[in-house]
Amino acid sequence: MTEAIIRLHNIGKSFGPNVVLQNINLDIHPGEIIGILGENGAGKSTLLKLISGVYQPSIGSLEADGRHYDQLDPVTSRRLGIAMIPQEFNLVPTLRVYENVFLGQEIRKRGFLDRKTMREKTREVMESLHSSLDPEAPISTLSVAEKQMVEVARVLVDDARLVILDEPTTVLTDREVTVLFDVVRRLQSAGVAVLFISHKLKEVRDLCHSVLILRDGEVVEQSSTDDLDEEDMARKMVGRELSQVFPEKQGQAGDVALEVRQLSLEHVLTDVSFTLRRGQILGLSGLVGSGRTEIAETIMGLREKTSGQILINGEPCNITSPEDAHRQNLAYLSEDRQGKGLVMSFNLIENITLLSLKRYIKGLINHRAERRRAEHYQQALSIRTASLNTDVGLLSGGNQQKVYLAKLLDIEPDILILDEPTRGIDVGTKHEFYRLIRKLASDGKAILVISSELEEIIGLCDQVLVVREGRIVADLQDEQINEEDIMLYAAGARGASTVTGTGVALS
């Protein structure tokens, strides 16, 4: 075999006392496509950052071009031909394609920009990628897939020998994924090595030669993709059976707490109907952009419904603002914790009592009562913080999410809508959340969970609705709740079944 582009010897990384990565040995050879799998918090992105020089390893060394490095910095890494295509693209929207491709590595002639050469080179690269993208097109006019192509072109112009793709397919349609895979295979046949990070096991199996599975910062499996099927991969990633991760489901549900009748929102939702009972965890599944969040926001009065009716405890009610919703004991956890959920410059106390502030006012705000309440939640939800006076912006994602939940719980809601409740939090905290959500349900609260993680929907929910293009296309219960069925409905491979009353007649 040819000499490795880069070799990792016993690499490890710790942040203070937290070991996030240890004993990583990996050789990357030219023309190899390696898949990297692992749950959130398993150490995938830390590994990538060590290779691309953003982080420096705490222990171990790297070897490239016959030289040993104790650490890499971004400049050295780039010089070694290592390039990363991030999830969030780093393109300047006001500039053109070729200007972005050559951003920071502009070709100059007598001190001035050589636009002609740059345009031609961009065209050549695009041709080699079988893309017909116009070098003159402004970035802002491009689709997500086209922007990704610009990122790839940028890497190629830079003569990269190792390309790191961080979850490149999450934003792409199926056809675009096919195109991207062709490009990756072409890179590979030209001798470029590729590290491919994805949550989608099937993609990894289809594309990669070998796979590296991380769990809790350690390599648990490193083998050829031919030797593993998707189920093996999933089991190795999670490291335990799914039933252990999720609390036991409970069959009995109480009275109807929330009923939505034929809710419509212009151009987004059509005739959405469902019922949510006390003690029940109802899942709302579907692809990104299918209208799940819009359903929640319309119920909360954040969007103006075009038609439909919302009943709480059997009473029709007119909710036109979150304030109205809170008054009906209805609370919503937004998927965007930082942008819509918490005031990052407020401390824990101020955030927790923001919705329920009225209760702490007898003429003036009773700061002591507020603090006592916050202390209660700090214990009940085991929120880890140096002090309750800390700005929540300084807390970890998981602790922020707990503060957010405390903020909602403090209005003592009967109905909770949780939109991506475990987004961006580590595995351990996720489990805490699942137990917490189940406990809230068994305390008699009605809970609607929106999630993009199928595993979460399947493991947590008593009943699952699948949303596609603003309609509820399936209502699944018990053993009907499985990955395959949900995906088939969500992606439209199985036609919408007719919704009858409470259930669905499967077609």
């Binding site: 954040l302 603002s321 109205d324 959920g341 005031v343 407020f346 923001l354 003036l364 705000i365 006076n389």
Partner: protein, 328 residues
């Protein structure tokens, strides 16, 4: 370790209750240093009469600065306050001179001043909330409008009060302290309670920090912003009462010129972030005092009045730089 932490926590909460956040410590130290330096630099500085004068001078812009603090915490800015002083002053004197009974006249005058100030504030607030015009542009426009109306009404001439009791209001003393200073301090105490002990205050901070979060939290964002501009307007009304009664007249072309700068400077020096979301009233009070003392010292030391603007500008720059460093 844990004990230490709870100690720190408790201390933190005490400090918080007084609104004496750590952010206020820097301006407080600056004020003390300035006081010491001034008393050493000039023998006249600690003179009762000088101190009284400084305090009185500070209170006119200080009252406005307290109002502007609310607007800035809510994420806005108000450039119109200086012109508003002139217009409110003119309306106040017209009302005062229209009523014959001197005591009644003063009552009517005060109501007109506070009322018209609040109303102009509402106007600014509506431009921002309903008109969706950036506060900077909206109040830049009303700054021009208010001044122009004041000049037009008076034909640019001075308006003089013919009420014999009126000068006692702004020129009077109680317990040896000028009435405007009392007004300033009492207003500060009330504003502090409003900011830290009421729902409006908490909501204002939330709106200023992140409008989206506030909206999703069921806060009536528009009413809160409107409220902050109304408070600023009413404060301008109070300042106009003190100023016109002290002078017993108002000059629509000179009154309140550049007050908006002094007010914003006091707010910034006091540690309130221009980006909104957090701030303190005591910080603003200290900021106003610092500006007033610097002005006074420059006068006492015989520094050219043309250089005073430069000094003031430099102080603002330093305050913002210190704030920026602390955020990192």
């Amino acid at each position: 370790m844990t004990q230490q932490r709870t100690m720190m926590d408790r201390m933190g909460s005490h400090v918080n209750r007084l609104g004496l956040d750590l952010t206020i410590l820097a301006p407080l130290i600056a004020l003390v240093v300035l006081l010491v330096a001034s008393s050493l630099a000039s023998e006249y500085f600690l003179n009762t009469r000088n101190i009284t004068n400084v305090m009185r001078q500070v209170s006119y812009t200080g009252i406005i600065a307290i109002g502007v603090t609310f607007v800035i915490i809510g994420g806005g800015i108000d450039l119109s306050v200086g012109s508003m002083v002139a217009l409110v002053g003119v309306l106040l004197l017209y009302a005062l001179n229209a009523v014959t009974d001197p005591v009644m006249a003063i009552v009517v005058g005060i109501l007109v001043a506070l009322g018209s100030g609040a109303l102009f504030g509402v106007f600014n607030g509506l431009l921002v909330t309903r008109g969706k015009i950036t506060a900077f542009i909206a109040t830049l426009a009303t700054m021009s409008i208010f001044r122009s109306v004041a000049l037009y009404l008076t034909d640019a001439g001075e308006v003089v009060s013919d009420n014999p009791l009126f000068p006692d209001l702004g020129g009077g003393y109680w317990l040896g302290i000028p009435i405007p200073v009392w007004a300033f301090l009492i207003l500060a105490a009330v504003a502090h309670v409003l900011l830290f002990y009421t729902r409006f205050g908490r909501h204002l901070c939330a709106v200023g920090a992140n409008t989206q979060v506030a909206r999703y939290s069921g806060i009536r964002v528009r009413s809160v912003i409107l409220g902050s501009f109304t408070i600023a307007g009413a404060c301008v009304g109070l300042s106009a009462i003190m100023l016109t009664s002290r002078l017993n007249s108002i000059s629509p072309s000179d009154a309140g010129v550049l007050y908006e700068l002094d007010a914003i400077a006091a707010v910034v020096i006091g540690g309130t972030a221009l980006s909104g979301g957090k701030g303190s009233i005591w910080g603003t009070v200290i900021g106003a005092l610092i500006l007033g003392i610097i002005n006074n010292m420059l006068n006492l030391l015989g520094v050219s009045p043309y250089l005073q603007g430069m000094v003031k500008g430099s102080v603002i720059l330093i305050a913002v730089l210190v704030q920026y460093k602390r955020q990192q």
